[in-house]
Amino acid sequence: MRESRIGAWIAMIIGTLYFLLPLIATFEFSLRLKRGEYSFEAYRVVFSDPRFRDSFSYSVTQALATIAVGLIIVVPTAYWVRLRAPQLRPLIEFITLLPLVIPAIVIVFGYLRIFNSSSLIPLTDTSLGTDALLMFGYVTLALPYLYRAIDTGLQAIDVRTLTESAESLGANTFTILAHVILPNIRAAVLSGAFLTFAIVIGEFTFAALLNRPAFGPYLQLIGANRAYEPSALAIMAFLVTWACMGLMQLFGRGVRMPATDTR
């Protein structure tokens, strides 16, 4: 017992250093904009840049839209697969894992090819169309995480028995989803939503290739042209994602919050 404990602690410490060291180094560097002293000057510069505010709010909007569309696609699908077609689960899991391993570049090339100005659905002609296209790209990107989160949530409740109970009490599918299933996977839904949020905020490739004013390309731009500000931005991005993760953990662990209305 003792030997394995020490080995495991060492593994854990190494693992933690893996993440902490780069973070600390980055933070330390971000404070050195003024020569000879530590200051938050780099952060001040970043905050006062209007492009920072614009790109950040653009990305937040994108993230919220992605979460909404993603949930509408994923929740009913995951529910239906668990309930009626458990034999399809490996296939669905496989499909949802695809965006992890298909290089983002393939997906973007494909979208550009389908939705360019000369195509049947010329989304890229208008700025709003391109925004929509970007959002659908993000949905694709977020799919694996969203599906896993929802599916894990569904696993924790007895989907089939709950559904059958509600059915034999006269409920239709919409009532079952809205009043029996969703309230019981709230934590999983929130956890998936926060993860999606974090992913969209930090994404670069899609936004850059579609030439949208998102936070990722702004980060890249600053990174290429400035010395200390990128570190400050990186630390801020880290804090935002950290906050998201914290909320995720909070809701993931949180006590069951009951809804009082049943209809």
């Binding site: 028995t161 059958e164 109970s165 509600a166 059915e167 034999s168 009490l169 006269g170 809804a259 209809r263």
Partner: protein, 352 residues
């Protein structure tokens, strides 16, 4: 005509047939148990009545209406599951009210009915509790109240006691039976536990391999099993091979001894082999008054099980199991003792 009629029900999953032409007629207010080992099709029959499975053939008729193709939500059938299946996000009152809200009953009527149901299941003070705050037995009573609240025509119970502790199982089964008799609701109860089926039911359906092997009162099922399967599944028993000696007078030979049998020999020719069954509790060791039949035996094992002392005795090539109560007055048997096992001629069952 009966209240609930199942006629020629068949269910196939792909190429396997799990229910073969199942027929059953249930009277209004009757308590019927479907008893059998896992995989015998009993749950599938129940799920077809509930509408969760569509029969491959056959009809389900409740109170004259054919509901075979109706969706579960369109049937007026209450169901209680093994997994308690309360909605975790709702408290006890909301769980019980769920079906009535779906049916758009007025709020006041719902509240009155919830209070009535809580009194019925003897949990009047738990309306605001959430399922995770209840014990298993309490949860199952709430599930029962939820199913009964909408006044279903038929109540379906799918092994509702299996997940509970032994002592609660016994007390809840008595409660369910009392409730069912009080409300007079037609009930189908699925179980693999013979004691539950025998103690709760008006009639028991013993199922095996998708077919009903025997349908009858608990007493008939236990004391007059028709087939070898029913005999061995319902209770433990001694299964012995015997030779027919004189079918007209009901005489067989068991391990070289002449034994008188009350019935069941008519179809058999003399000197044929037959299987006979003897229940361990039907045998008496050296009783004060001799019974019709007696087999001389030697004790080979004595097991103290608590209330019951189980004695294994050898008679020729046969080993017989004999159950006696652990009583202070009773003699303490030990290995090697020579005894005589007595039994009446109507205790011995000749199996088909």
């Amino acid at each position: 005509m009966s209240f609930l009629t199942l006629s020629g029900l068949v269910k196939r999953f792909g190429s396997t047939t799990v229910v073969h032409g199942f027929d059953l007629a249930v009277e209004r207010g009757e308590f019927i148990s479907l008893l059998g080992p896992s995989g015998c099709g009993k749950t599938t029959v129940l799920r077809m009545i509930a509408g969760f499975e569509t029969p491959s053939a056959g009809h389900i008729i409740i109170d004259g209406a054919d509901i075979t193709r109706k969706r579960p939500a369109e049937r007026n059938v209450g169901m209680v599951f093994q997994a308690y299946a309360l909605f975790p996000n709702m408290n006890v009152a909301d769980n019980i009210a769920f079906g009535m809200k779906i049916a758009n009953m007025p709020q006041a009527a719902i509240e009155a009915r919830v209070t009535e149901m809580l009194a019925l299941i003897k949990l009047p003070d738990l309306a605001k509790r959430y399922p995770y705050q209840l014990s298993g037995g309490q949860q199952q009573r709430v599930a029962l109240a939820r199913a009964l609240a909408v006044k279903p025509q038929v109540l379906l119970l799918d092994e509702p006691l299996s997940a509970l502790d032994a002592k609660i199982r016994v007390s809840l089964r008595e409660e369910i039976r009392a409730l069912q008799q009080e409300l007079g609701i037609t009930t189908i109860f699925v179980t693999h536990d013979q004691e539950e089926a025998l103690s709760m039911s008006d009639r028991v359906v013993v199922m095996n391999d998708g077919r009903a092997e025997q349908i009858g009162t608990p007493h008939m099922i236990y004391n007059h099993p028709k087939t070898r399967f029913v005999a061995s599944f319902v209770g433990t028993l001694n299964m012995l091979e015997a030779q027919v000696e004189d079918p007209a007078n009901g005489i067989i030979t068991l391990a070289g001894h002449r034994v008188r049998v009350a019935s069941g020999l008519d179809r058999l020719p003399p000197s044929a082999s037959c299987m006979v069954a003897l229940r361990p509790e039907a045998l008496a060791i050296n009783p004060a008054e001799p019974a019709a039949n007696a087999l001389p035996c030697t004790i080979v094992d004595v097991q103290f099980l608590g209330a019951i002392v189980r004695i294994k005795a050898r008679c020729g090539d046969h080993i017989l199991s004999v159950d006696t109560f652990n009583q202070t007055g009773a003699p303490a048997w030990s290995r090697g003792d020579a005894i005589a096992l007595h039994f009446n001629s109507d205790e011995i069952v000749v199996l088909a």
